[in-house]
């Protein structure tokens, strides 16, 4: 008989942004001052996670061009496909995992009761999508490219165009929320939220790449964004 002992590759806290990143002002009062308490041997409570393969995903849930009006009318903006793979740190695909995303419209306005930016709402755009990865870890959304927008951090801070992306992975240990930025956007290096990440190589992991091969002539461009979640390590112990 075998007992399986699962662990995940340790999360590199210097790779991710620190909790306290004063350039992003809201983090100042929302960052713990005490050290995180390390669990030397994570239990089943940390190793497991929800399986959403039984969640009823609607027909248009991954299609933001159609989902707000249920196919009645199209939103304004550059039509894009956002796609990629969810893999773990060993390159293994993560199948049937929930990928959720949300974004502003082409003018940089969110459909959220607290957003009152000057740019108008688009009557044909909601800004939320979700899907499950396939057996090879692929996911795909159809949407419009969101617009940049100003926000009150520095006297004149602007967010680069971005799409918020949430991925579950196989465990609550692999849970990750990030933002996808668009290759070449000059606002990326000026963004206080991007700059919470210290390592330029880590910033690169958040950049969606223009992928002409997957674009559709006379229809839409494609951006590829792969998500890498913590790798699972397995050790088998022989029981007598």
């Amino acid at each position: 008989m075998h007992d399986e002992k699962t662990r995940f590759v340790e999360r590199d806290r210097n790779w991710h942004p620190p909790a306290y990143a004063p350039g992003y002002k809201t983090s100042v009062a929302r960052s713990p001052q005490q050290s995180l308490v390390s669990m030397q041997s994570p239990s089943v409570s940390e190793i497991g996670g929800p399986d959403f393969s039984g969640l009823r995903i609607g027909r248009y849930d991954n299609d933001l061009l159609l989902n707000f009006t249920q196919g009645q009318a199209l939103p304004v903006g550059e039509r894009i496909i956002m796609f990629g793979r969810v893999i773990d740190q060993f390159g293994k695909p993560v199948p049937n995992t929930l990928v959720e995303m949300w974004q502003a419209n082409a003018g940089g306005r969110y459909r959220h009761r607290n957003d009152n930016y000057l740019a108008p709402l688009d009557p044909n755009f909601g800004g939320v999508g979700r899907t499950l990865t396939d057996e090879q870890g692929w996911y795909r959304f159809r949407t419009i490219k969101p617009g940049p927008y100003p926000w009150p951090n520095d006297p004149n801070s602007w967010r680069p165009a971005h799409i918020h992306v949430s991925v579950m992975g196989p465990s609550i240990s692999t849970r990750l929320i990030t933002q996808m930025y668009f290759e070449g956007d000059p606002l990326i290096p000026r963004c206080p939220i991007v700059n919470t990440v210290n390592d330029p190589d880590a910033v690169e992991t958040m950049i969606g790449r223009l992928d002409m091969a997957h674009s559709k002539p006379m229809d839409c461009l494609a951006y590829r964004f792969d998500l890498v979640v913590r790798g699972r390590l397995q050790t088998y112990f022989e029981n007598q």
């Binding site: 942004p17 992003y24 929302r30 393969s53 893999i87 990440v197």
Partner: protein, 211 residues
């Protein structure tokens, strides 16, 4: 005997995608009706247990408080817990009597409490074989939180189990350990209520875990 370290394993693995704050509009993606968007066919929300669920029905409520002592009104929380027998039910289905996973959020107005309708979890065995006291794992996402914070909620009416929990014992400071204990209150109707306020910073700062 100690073997020489000839190969760096870090070269062999990919780096994780970096985390970013969920931002103030997290609700659009993870709690659309809170943002003011129409609900989809099925949403993942805070009713983790229905009336048919086995175990003691409970409600868990709390606030999230920042380092200035102000309410964090835009926090989203994810919960993960075992059932009354101490077994996880990972297969999420809204038709299940109980799901191990749920979501909730603080509110923009009023007392800004998050809440979960669930059942009291049973004890779960630790890797060491010792039982862990009943607990709910919570992850906190919010504007200004760059990597989500992970904590555990324990119950104040489980003194004995708490005293022997191998994870609670990992926390050196007894004062800090206390930040993970939810307190029992008189609830509405037949549901017992526990309160668990999460303090992100400063006095009474909640213990957050790395795992």
């Amino acid at each position: 005997m100690q073997q020489p370290n000839t190969q760096s394993t870090s070269e062999l693995i990919l780096r994780e995608t970096a985390s970013q704050t969920a931002g103030p509009y997290v609700h659009i993606g993870l709690a659309p009706s809170v943002a003011g968007l129409p609900a989809r066919d099925e949403e993942i929300w805070n009713r983790m247990a229905g009336p048919e669920a086995e175990g003691e029905p409970i409600e868990v409520v709390g606030t999230v408080i920042d380092g200035n002592g102000d309410l964090v009104r835009d926090a989203l929380i994810e919960a993960w817990q075992a059932d009354a027998k101490g077994v996880y039910q990972p297969f999420f289905d809204l038709r299940n009597a109980f799901n191990s996973f749920g979501r909730t959020a603080t509110t923009f107005e009023g007392s800004s409490e998050w809440s979960l309708q669930t059942i009291k979890p049973g004890p779960v065995a630790h890797a060491s074989g010792q039982p862990m006291a009943p607990h709910i794992n919570l992850s906190i996402f919010a504007r200004g939180v760059n990597v989500h914070l992970q904590t555990r909620l324990y119950f104040d009416d489980e003194r004995d189990a708490n005293a022997h929990c191998p994870v609670l014992s990992r926390i050196e400071s007894p004062t800090r350990r206390q930040t993970l204990i939810a307190s029992r209150e008189a609830g509405d109707g037949d549901r017992v209520r526990y309160r668990f306020d999460i303090r992100l910073q400063g006095d009474g700062e909640t213990v957050f875990f790395d795992f």
